[in-house]
Every structure is written in C-alpha cells, then in structure tokens.
C-alpha cells in the first residue's frame, strides 16, 4: 500500500460505494473499519432477502387462509403486519445509510485530493472518535423511538384500513383483510354507520367543549387567585399559596379516584352531608346523570388544574416591571384599570403559547375522564358503540381497544383523526421553538 494520491483512482470511490456499500471506503479511501462494517451490513441484508420478501409480501396479503392447519400454525395477520413494518423501517435505515456512504465517500475522496495526502493516523483517530461518538450516542435513541413509537403509530394508522375487530376478524382463528375506506365510512357517514356515526358526532362535540371549558376554567381560576394573592391587603397570602399548590402536587389519578368516591350518588359523603343538613332530600346524581357528569368533570378538573396556572401566572406577574404600576398610579389609574391594561395583556402575551398547548393537552386528557367517570354514564342509544356521555375521543379509543368486543379498526380511525387534529398544534409548537431559537442568535 503506497501513500501516493492518485485522483483518478480516488474518484472511483463513490462509484465503488454505490456498487456495494462500503466498497469504496475499503478499496480506495483506506477506511477499513468503517468500510468493513458497512459491507457486513449489506451482506446481511442480501443474505436475508428471502425473509425481507416474505415479510413485505405478508404485509400486502395479510396471510392466506389455511383452515386445514391447527390454529397455532395458521397465518397470523397482525404479526405479519408488524413484521412487514419492521422490515420497512430497517430497509429505510439501510437506504439512508447507503446514500450517506456514497456521499461521504465522495467528500472524503475530494478532501484527500485537495490535501494531496491521506489523513494521518491521528487525524483518522480523531475523526473516527468524533463520528463514532455521534453515531453511537444517537443510535440507541433512534432505534428505541423507531420500535416503540414510529412502528406502533404506523401500525395503528394501517389498522384503520383493515377489518381487525371482534368477533369475526381476530387472529389466529381468522385472518384480517384490507378493506379500504370501509371503517371511515362507518364512522363518519350517518346513513352508512348508523349508531357509530351519531356516537362520533356527540363524542367529537363533547371533546371540543371539554377542551375549551377545561382549559379556560383552570386558567382563569388560576389567574383569579394569582391576582388576589398579589393584593397587599390580603392577610397570609403565603399560607393560601402553599395550600393551593397541594392539588398539583398530589398524583392526579389519586385525587380523581377520591373525587369519584366523594361524588358517589348513594354512599358519597358529599350527598350524605347535604342530606344530613337537610339541604336535599334525594341524592344529587353527580356522576350518573349525563349533564351533571359533564359539569362535575369540569369542576373537579378545576380543582386539579388551577394551581398549575396559578403558579405560572404568579411567576409571570412578578416579571412585570413595577415602574409600569407606579406610572399608572400617578396617572390616576385604579386597580381594575391597572389589571385590564397592564397585568392582563402582559400575562396573556407571555402565556398564550402555554394556553394553546394546554388546549391540545386537554383534547388528549385521558386521565381526567377515565378515572373520574370512566366515560360514563352510558347512553341508551349508543350502548353498542361503547361511547359514554362524558367520553372524549381518546378515552373512547381506549375503550374500543381494551373492552370486548374489541373494535381495533374503528379505534384506529379515531387515532388517525386525533393525529390530524394535533398536527396544527405540533407545527405551531415547532415554529415557535424555531423562532425562539432564531431570535436568540
């Protein structure tokens, strides 16, 4: 091996790498370690071509019926689907690495030609340790996200186009088939889906109403107490503040369970107390009446959520310059005018992004609904669809997935919908962090 640099030879490196991943690195660029690892990767991929083909074919056909075989040996559509997805992800990684290899072969060759010498051992080592640090550091995270986030999300998007549901299409006894837009029609077209479509409309409306009310009620309750506790005339503000933080500190699930029991119609201490003082003669159906349950849900959510807003608003209020208030006092403004023209707009300006993200969070607030009412009380005409009167989209998805009869395919239609609803919020969040970054530079 000579150290003479021949540009013509080096220019072949990217071509060689295009023919076989890593070949250019080994033959021309003297990057033996990297080259051999890449070549091994491609070899493994080539050796497993029949497995790759089988998995991709399985993803398309979702299995062939074999009623003659014992259940254990029959095609399992869902496993085939997950396998197919895994193979697609691995292929995607393979092609990205392939493209990157060709690109880096070209870049390295040009660098060697320009410097008229191969990098010294020390340079190679530095380069290698820097590169391998970046690759080794990011790989576990990328693999875990690919397997536990990307594949599951893609899977549930795919299921929406199949008939995967109880009782007739549950593997391994039966196969699952692609059915196109069938499930979307069932969910969204009233004349086609019947009870499903009407359940969907009522759940969707309640999801929006819930998100609006729960976000703003907590925010303004928090705002109110933040402002009141800033008032110099109130005694012991610190005591109130400390105690008001408690609902935020206690695990939410536990508070919701306790509330569900406090509001229990027959045995709950709230009704028993009211009856004890003869304020009511019959128990109030806090959680068993469709309308009352919605009101209770929003009220309990205020109990849980107002401290968080209170804390944030308090800290954003302390950031407002005192001179603004002093100047306005000199101009003769009263407390209410100060609040309206200084405190409120400044706090809103600061916390608007947070409010928007809280709104998105409440659309997905599974815990509040599921632990307090479990979506109930159930309604007569939507019993077959499992949608209760306080169910929001996300808790309905959970019920359709976990309760029998499992309606995985319809749950996936709703998941796609939630996905679409959340995209604007995700984009908003992304643009915001990006602009935030740029303004700092």
């Amino acid at each position: 091996m000579s150290n003479i640099v021949s540009p013509n030879k080096l220019r072949k490196a990217p071509i060689a790498s295009a023919c076989f991943m890593g070949l250019g690195q080994v033959l021309f660029l003297k990057q033996y370690v990297r080259g051999f690892i890449l070549m091994a990767f491609e070899t493994i991929m080539i050796l497993s071509h029949s497995h790759i083909y089988k998995s991709l074919r399985g993803l398309i056909t979702l299995g062939d019926p074999h009623p003659e075989l014992p259940v254990k040996l029959r095609d399992h559509s869902i496993f085939m689907m997950v396998n197919g997805l895994i193979v697609i992800i691995i292929l995607a990684i393979f092609f990205v690495v392939y493209a990157a290899t060709i690109k880096s072969a070209k870049k390295d060759a040009e660098k060697i030609i320009k410097n008229r010498k191969f990098p010294t051992l020390k340079e190679t080592r530095n380069d290698l340790s820097e590169n391998s640090f970046a690759v080794a550091g990011i790989t576990p995270a990328v693999i875990m996200v690919a397997f536990f986030t990307v594949i599951p999300l893609l899977f549930s998007a795919f299921v929406a186009f199949t008939n995967y549901s109880s009782p007739d299409h549950i593997p391994p006894n039966n196969l699952v088939d692609w059915v196109g837009l069938e499930n979307f029609k069932t969910m969204f077209v009233r004349s086609y889906g019947g009870a499903w479509a009407s359940s969907f409309v009522s759940v969707a409306i309640w999801t929006i109403v819930w998100a609006v009310f729960s976000t703003f009620s907590c925010f303004f309750a928090g705002f109110f107490f933040a402002v009141v506790l800033q008032d110099k005339r109130i005694v012991l503000p610190k005591l109130y503040r400390t105690i008001f933080i408690l609902p935020y500190a206690i695990p939410q699930m536990l508070s919701l369970f306790v509330w569900a029991n406090l509001l229990n119609g027959t045995f709950g201490p709230i009704n028993r107390t009211l009856m004890y003082f003869s304020l009511i003669t019959k128990g109030i159906p806090w959680l068993s009446d469709p309308v009352m349950a919605k009101v209770s849900l929003i009220l309990v959510n205020i109990w849980i959520g107002f401290p968080y807003s209170m804390i944030l608003i308090t800290s954003s209020m302390t950031a407002i310059s005192k001179s603004l208030y002093e100047a306005s006092t000199i101009d003769g403004a009263n407390k209410w005018q100060q609040f309206r023209s200084i405190t409120f707009p400044l706090v809103m300006y600061q916390l608007k992004p947070l409010l928007i993200m809280q709104f998105a969070g409440n659309i997905n607030n599974f815990g509040a609904v599921f632990f307090l009412t479990a979506g109930g009380p159930s309604l007569q005409d939507t019993i077959s669809t499992q949608a209760g009167s306080t169910d929001i989209l996300i808790s309905w998805i959970y019920k359709l997935t976990m309760n029998t009869p499992n309606q995985y395919s319809l749950a996936s239609v709703l998941s796609i919908l939630v996905f679409l609803v959340l995209v604007p919020f995700a984009l908003y969040n992304f643009i915001r962090t990006k602009s935030f970054k740029e303004s700092e530079i």
Binding site: T149, P152, L229, L254, L312, F430
Partner: protein
C-alpha cells in the same frame, strides 16, 4: 402609594377573603376526608363519617395493606393481606430504571442534536417534535406485539423500555434546547487537553447541564408512579403490578368494598410524593418557566 392601606376592611377585601377561605376548604376537604377514611376500621365508603374524622380511629387498613397475601391480617382469622408492598417496590424499580435510562439516552441525544452533524439530522429532529405530541398509547397493540416478540411482556424492564422510548422525543428536544445555550468552546477546550468527545461530554458538558438534568431526573422518576395504561397492558400477574394498577383494581367498580383501604394506600404514595415535589419545586418551576413561559 399605600392609600388603600386604611381600607383594609373594605367590602372588597372581606369578600375576597371569604372566597379564599371557601377555596381553602374546598382544597382541603378531599384531602382531610381521605386521611380520615384511611383510619376507619370498616371497609366501605358508606361507613365513613361525613366529618373527616373517624369515630373510632384504627390502623386496620394500613395493617391489611402491608400484610402479604399469604398471611392473615393481625387480629383477624379470615382476612388476607395484599401485594401492596410488592407493588410499591415494583414501582420504585421501574421509576429508578426509567430515570437512569432516560437521563443517559436523552442527554446523549440532546447533546448530539445540538452539536454534531450527521445524515438526516434535520429530518430526525423535525420528526421528534411531531412525535412528542402523540399519546404513545395510541399504538398500544403494536407495542404489545413487539414486547411479546422480545419476551418483554409481564416484565418490569419491558415497561421501562416503553416509558423511556416514549419520553425520548420530548426529553431529548428539551436537553438540546439547554445544550444550545451552553458555550461551544466548553468541549473544545477539553479536546485540546486530549479528551475524546466521550470523556469531554462526561467530565465537562454534562456537569454544566446539571439543572436540566435534575429536572429530567425528577420528571422521569415521578412519571411512572401514576401511569396506568401501559402497566395495565403489559403487567399481568399480581406480583408484577405497579401501584397505579394495583390501586385502580382495588377500587374500580368496588368502591364500597375497599375505599378505606384505597385511601390508606393512596396516602402512603401521596405523602412522600408531595414531599418530593415540594423539595424539587424550585427546579421544576425554573424549567417550566424556561420551556413554556418564554416567548
């Protein structure tokens, strides 16, 4: 400036104070009731006294929780204990493993996103922002199958994998944001002294990101305590359950049988939790203000 001082008994202040006191009682009532219920000997919700003090205080519910299921509760002949202690330990294990894994994965990933160039960097980062928006339980069937394939069902490490993988998009983005604000020459100075990127990261960069790592530790430690969906999906046998599932199954649909025991179990979690929260509150608030409040 203090012209209002003289009016400290003005009607507005009286009304506001009344509202504050009412709110104080509303906040404290469920807590007081739960404490009272946990010291009630009888099991049912109906038997709790409406004033938040039990008529005959007793430690029976705590004894019942802390006795293991193969033994009889002290003082009774037919009442079995529960797996509560096992659940507590399981949850603690999951929380610790999750913290370690999350801190390692996300501080590496965040640092590399912030400082290194690699193929598809922009694409990976943009997809992280989008992915962190979605509740990971939307894909729970596929998660279940993948865990089944790697023998991770009904194991605590399977649950830990799901938790830490789910938190990577958000947390590595968070860490990246913090590393972006640190001066770049920090690691470069270490390189000149002969450090490799790895040792420079461990010795120089990581210590300077301590506040954010404290925040990450706190959130990834507290997260698993009350998560319910994934443990319910993944953990099947009673001795593998975490607290959230154990407590949920204790009470769901059978409130009238077990409410007082649930109250005792809830308090045994909530008290250390609240103390931890108050202790970590400062770091939590700083990070919240840094990530959410700034424009």
């Amino acid at each position: 400036m203090k012209t209002n001082r003289t009016g400290s008994n003005s009607p507005a202040v009286v009304i506001l104070t009344i509202i504050l006191v009412i709110q104080l009682l509303l906040v404290l009532y469920p807590i007081a009731f739960t404490i009272g219920a946990s010291f009630t000997e009888s099991n049912s919700l109906a038997s709790t006294s409406i004033a938040p003090f039990p008529k005959h205080p007793s430690l029976y519910q705590y004894r019942r929780l802390l006795t293991s299921p193969d033994k009889m509760v002290k003082g009774t002949t037919d009442k079995h204990g529960t797996n509560y202690r096992v659940w507590y330990l399981n949850t603690l294990k999951v929380a610790c493993m999750n913290t370690i894994l999350t801190v390692i994965l996300c501080s590496f990933a965040g640092y590399i996103f912030s400082r290194f160039k690699f193929p598809m960097r922009k694409t990976v980062m943009a997809s992280m922002v989008i992915l962190q928006m979605f509740p990971s339980f939307i894909g729970m069937i596929a998660t279940y199958i993948i865990l089944w394939k790697i023998n991770g069902l009904n194991t605590l490490w399977g649950l830990v994998l799901v938790y830490s993988a789910g938190s990577i998009p958000f947390n590595s983005w968070l860490m990246k944001g913090y590393f972006d604000t640190l001066p770049k020459d920090l690691a470069e100075a270490a390189y000149i002294d002969g450090a490799t990127p790895f040792t420079a990261f461990l010795r120089v960069v990581l210590p300077s990101a301590k506040p954010q790592i404290v925040f990450l530790t706190l959130t990834s430690f507290t997260g698993p305590w009350m998560d319910f969906i994934f443990p319910r999906l993944i953990l099947r046998s009673d001795d593998k359950k975490t607290l959230a599932v154990g407590l949920y199954e204790m009470i769901s649909g059978r409130a009238n049988d077990n409410f007082t025991m649930f109250a005792a179990g809830a308090l045994l979690v909530a008290v250390p939790f609240t103390i931890l929260f108050v202790a970590g509150q400062k770091s939590l608030l700083q990070s919240l203000a840094g990530t959410g409040g700034k424009e």
